[in-house]
């Protein structure tokens, strides 16, 4: 195979860094409203019929949405194997909690309305709440930790070793900055869930979703700005020093890394990236206004814009770092040292270029077929076939 030589290794790495972002954003945009609706469920819907309306707004699409999560795992494995190896074993117990949530959630959707017993249904409703709220928070906490660096280093054989006791790998994740990042992601996804329910539901469910969603939008923007200020004054950044290759072998030990006073120096080097946080803040504020005004389609688009801005701002600010190491900066994972081989990146790009447009097309078609509001009448009339 020689075709892959027509694209430089460096370019492929940057493209795959971008695709990593696309996957995370795709996940947050689609599965994000599932999690948001889950977190909102007990508060926007009180009666069984109301709850079924809320659940059935995501009922036909959660399976497809969840694939973004699974594909995210697979794509990180294929394109960034060291990142896959270091992050999932490093955040071991947190990952277990997230997996547990993602296992319970499908079952809760599918099984909740299969028995009439109110206790059965109520239990599953709280399962939906937990499996939406907990990952929404933990994803942000994980990002907060990555921004500050994670305590790990590599041996000469590239085994990953984590510093500290096992319980610190879980409890230690919950430092104040990371919790703030958790608040950002939690509030953002609740906002997104609120925007979704505004579009898909009506009546009292919609009214409550708008009220809670608009508060969440303000909290998300506030916490995001606060986290930005904190990063300006209190969080050290990283940078690669000395000579290095951007198309060399993927081996972190071939690089020299040192700490800098702040990540935000990136905005001096690449001023254009300021577009991302501006989109994030603006999107959040517009979502707030949209929810207040009761606009349906545009609010969901604003909410998507906010998510796009917030997630891409993290990636753009840290570039080329993906997962820095706080205890041994030299072991930090960057775009230049933790990708797959040149050939694998190329093949995966070809496959993605073929299938990603197809996925977007048929997903759009499915959403189009399902377009329209879920009403209480829908749920009562099709009581046996819907969730």
């Amino acid at each position: 195979m020689i075709l892959h030589d027509f694209m430089s290794y460096e370019l492929l790495r940057v493209i795959w860094w971008g695709l990593l972002g696309v996957l995370l954003i795709g996940f947050a945009l689609t599965d994000g409203f599932d999690m948001g609706v889950g977190a909102l469920l007990p508060f926007v819907a009180k009666t069984d019929v109301e709850r079924r309306v809320a659940i059935n707004t995501v009922g036909p699409v959660w399976e497809g949405n969840q694939v973004w999560f699974i594909l995210g795992g697979g794509a990180i494995f294929a394109a960034w194997p060291p990142l896959y190896a270091v992050s999932f074993s490093g955040f071991y117990l947190a990952m277990f909690v997230i997996l547990a949530a993602f296992i319970v959630r499908p079952v809760a959707f599918k099984y909740r309305s299969k028995r009439d017993d109110p206790r059965w249904r109520n239990t599953w409703d709280w399962a939906l709440f937990g499996s939406g709220a907990i990952p929404a928070l933990l994803f942000g906490v994980a990002v907060g930790n990555v921004i500050q660096g994670v305590p790990f280093h590599f041996t000469d054989d590239l085994h990953t070793i984590y510093e500290g006791a096992w319980y610190m790998k879980f409890i230690g994740l919950l430092d104040p900055f990371s919790l703030l990042a958790g608040v950002v992601s939690f509030a953002m996804l609740v906002m997104h869930g609120g925007a979704w329910l505004t579009l898909k539901a009506e009546g009292v469910v919609q009214a409550r979703a708008r009220a809670i969603g608009s508060i969440a939008a303000l909290v998300a923007v506030g916490a995001y700005v606060l986290a930005g200020l904190w990063m300006a004054v209190g969080i050290e950044g990283f940078r690669i020093v000395g000579d290095y290759l951007t198309n060399g072998p993927s081996n972190p030990l071939h690089f020299e890394v040192e700490r800098t006073s702040s990540w935000l120096s990136a905005y001096a080097d690449r001023p254009w990236i300021v577009v991302a946080p501006v989109l994030g803040i603006l999107g959040g504020l517009l979502t707030f206004l949209g929810l207040r005004a009761g606009r349906e389609v545009s609010t969901l688009l604003f909410s998507k814009m906010a998510i796009l801005g917030v997630i891409s701002s993290v990636g753009l600010t840290m570039f080329p770092f993906i997962m820095p190491s706080s205890s041994d900066p030299q072991s930090s994972l960057t775009v230049w040292n933790s990708s797959s081989s040149h050939l694998t990146l190329f093949i995966m790009l070809v496959v993605t270029a073929i299938f990603m447009p197809l996925i977007l097309m048929y997903t759009a078609w499915v959403y189009k077929v399902l377009w329209g509001k879920v009403t209480e009448a829908d749920v009562s009339e099709n009581s046996n076939s819907v969730y």
Binding site: E63, S87, Y111
Partner: protein
């Protein structure tokens, strides 16, 4: 056996994989059976076929969701528990997993929602298309997973890169068209089809025994038996193909399954029954059939099949060769681009055996410090535990032939005896429901336990593949998974039984109105009542 982090991680993987595989075979097969039933519905317009589609589709849904849920664990636990494995082979192994998501799982998961929610929103043909897309998605999913798994059994199209300290892909098409993967794929999906057929026949038989839904049940048995017969034949045929490919790729696994300690003159006999003794290195009280093993394994009468003892001697040679590679690797890694060409050449010459040197890491930190005894012990480690493999394999094969017999019988009764099934046969069909699951789990066990002590055959030992986790962490998650999965299993079984007991929703008025409307056309020339079941 010492019980450490490696054993605990293996236990967790085995538990989660076996559990996931309780749901996968039924998903694979039932998705296709449901799509076939809906095809008949669209072609004939008879309401009963839509009722069948909806009924089996609902049971499919209850099962599918746990397959999805437990599959999530599979996608992430390589990184969580097997981080060195993920680093070492992710460049090759990750690709089919990601492609599975892109090409198969997205398709299946996006359309499965529409399958259940789209009955009123789509035209008949559009809904049928959706049903087939779900079935195709599920089956493509299996293809990519087995390409990944096939590579662990027979790592082709890749080589070790000393600069990145990992295996890297050299030829994607070799990975894709790996003969082991292809045989495994057809073997596994066929097993799924058999599972679904046995399930459909068993549940339908129960309705017939209870005298309920007999028109729906008889038709279901007919579809199940035809589909199941073809699949049961395919399972055994492709199982044989797997054995044949193992005879040149995984000689040790095959010898262990067979309990064959000494190399036998060609053609080797097949031990029908025996008691393998790992210590004494012999299979006691063996009843053998001459020639059969040679024929299955090599498809010739003259090719010799090596026994375990000779393979251990080979492994010892490869460990020594691997040590030369390891020594050269340390220099190459140190010098990077400046490495001297002679050392590089030495490394290249021996790098295929590098994995064998890693077998010594279990005993010493630096393999170069290993003593003669340790080398011998490591060579002995290449023999998997024989008796579980020996028996699991025989039980699986026995069940496989049992399915062929059962399917043949039901197919015969359905085709030539007017869908009339004697009660003892129906009782047998109900009792047989768990059998394909047992066979499928045994098959997984033979394939993966037989691969030990390697995660990737000849490349990376299992002991080296694990993450640097504490026992406490893994014990916690293992306990969590066991608890969690047990609860889910009980809930799933409860719902499955509830909905089977409740039975299909049959709109009698609609069926009768349709029958009355089409009576003349169906009665045909002989003026016989074509609607009535012949057996009634």
């Amino acid at each position: 056996m010492e019980f450490g982090i490696v054993e605990l991680s293996r236990l967790q993987f085995a538990m989660t994989a076996l559990y996931h595989f309780l749901f996968v075979p039924l998903t694979l097969g039932l998705s296709v059976l449901v799509a076939i039933m809906e095809t008949v519905y669209v072609m004939t317009n008879r309401p009963i076929w839509r009722q069948m589609t909806k009924f089996w589709g609902m049971l499919f849904g209850i099962n599918f969701v746990l397959g999805v849920a437990t599959g999530i664990t599979m996608e992430f636990q390589f990184g969580m528990n097997w981080s060195y494995y993920s680093h070492y082979v992710g460049d090759i192994f990750g690709a089919p997993l990601a492609i599975e998501g892109l090409m198969a799982f997205f398709l299946e998961a996006t359309f499965v929602g529409l399958f259940f929610f789209g009955w009123d929103k789509l035209s008949k043909v559009a809904h049928l298309t959706v049903a087939w897309l779900v079935a195709i998605g599920s089956n493509f999913s299996a293809l990519w997973i087995l390409i990944a798994n096939g590579w662990m059994q027979n790592p082709v199209g890749a080589e070790f890169n000393p600069m990145t300290m990992r295996m890297e892909m050299t030829d994607f098409f070799e990975v894709l068209f790996n003969e082991v993967a292809q045989a495994k794929f057809v073997h596994t999906v066929s097993a799924g089809y058999v599972t679904a057929s046995v399930f459909v026949i068993g549940v339908s038989a129960w309705y017939l025994l209870k005298g309920r839904h007999s028109d729906l049940a008889r038709r279901s048995i007919t579809v199940g038996a035809a589909f199941g017969l073809a699949s049961a034949l395919s399972v055994v045929l492709l199982g044989d193909e797997s054995g044949y490919s193992a005879s040149h790729n995984q000689k040790m696994k095959l010898a262990a399954m067979e309990g064959m300690w000494e190399t036998h003159d060609a053609p080797a006999p097949f031990n029908l029954i025996g008691f393998p003794d790992q210590e004494a290195r012999e299979t006691k009280y063996a009843i053998s059939i001459p020639w059969v093993m040679g024929l299955i394994g090599t498809r010739s009468l003259t090719t010799e099949m090596p026994g375990i003892n000779d393979l251990v001697a080979d492994a010892e040679d490869r460990i020594r060769s691997g040590l030369i590679a390891y020594d050269a690797l340390l220099h190459v890694r140190e010098q990077r681009d400046a490495a001297d060409p002679a050392t590089l050449a030495t490394f290249e010459a021996h790098s295929a055996d590098l994995g064998f040197a890693f077998l010594l890491k279990k005993y010493v930190d630096n393999p170069l410090d290993a003593t003669e005894e340790q080398i011998k012990a490591a060579a002995n480690d290449t023999v998997p535990q024989v008796w579980p493999l020996f028996w699991a394999f025989r039980l699986m094969v026995g069940l496989g032939f049992g399915f062929i017999g059962t399917m043949l019988y039901f197919f015969y009764r359905a085709s030539f005896k007017g869908m009339n099934f004697p009660r003892p046969a129906l009782h047998l069909a109900v009792w047989m429901i768990p059998a394909p699951w047992l066979a499928a789990e045994l098959g997984w066990f033979v394939a993966e336990f037989g691969r030990q002590p390697w995660t990737v055959d000849g490349v990376l030992p299992t002991a080296m593949s694990v993450s640097a986790l504490s026992m406490t962490e893994v014990a916690l998650t293992l306990a969590g998974f066991v608890l969690f999965y047990t609860v889910l299993f009980i809930i799933e079984m409860g719902l499955m039984l509830k909905y089977i007991r409740k039975g299909p929703y049959q709109d009698v008025e609609e069926t009768e109105a349709w029958n009355a409307r089409h009576h003349n056309r169906l009665a045909g020339r002989k003026n016989a009542d074509a609607i009535a079941m012949p057996a009634e």
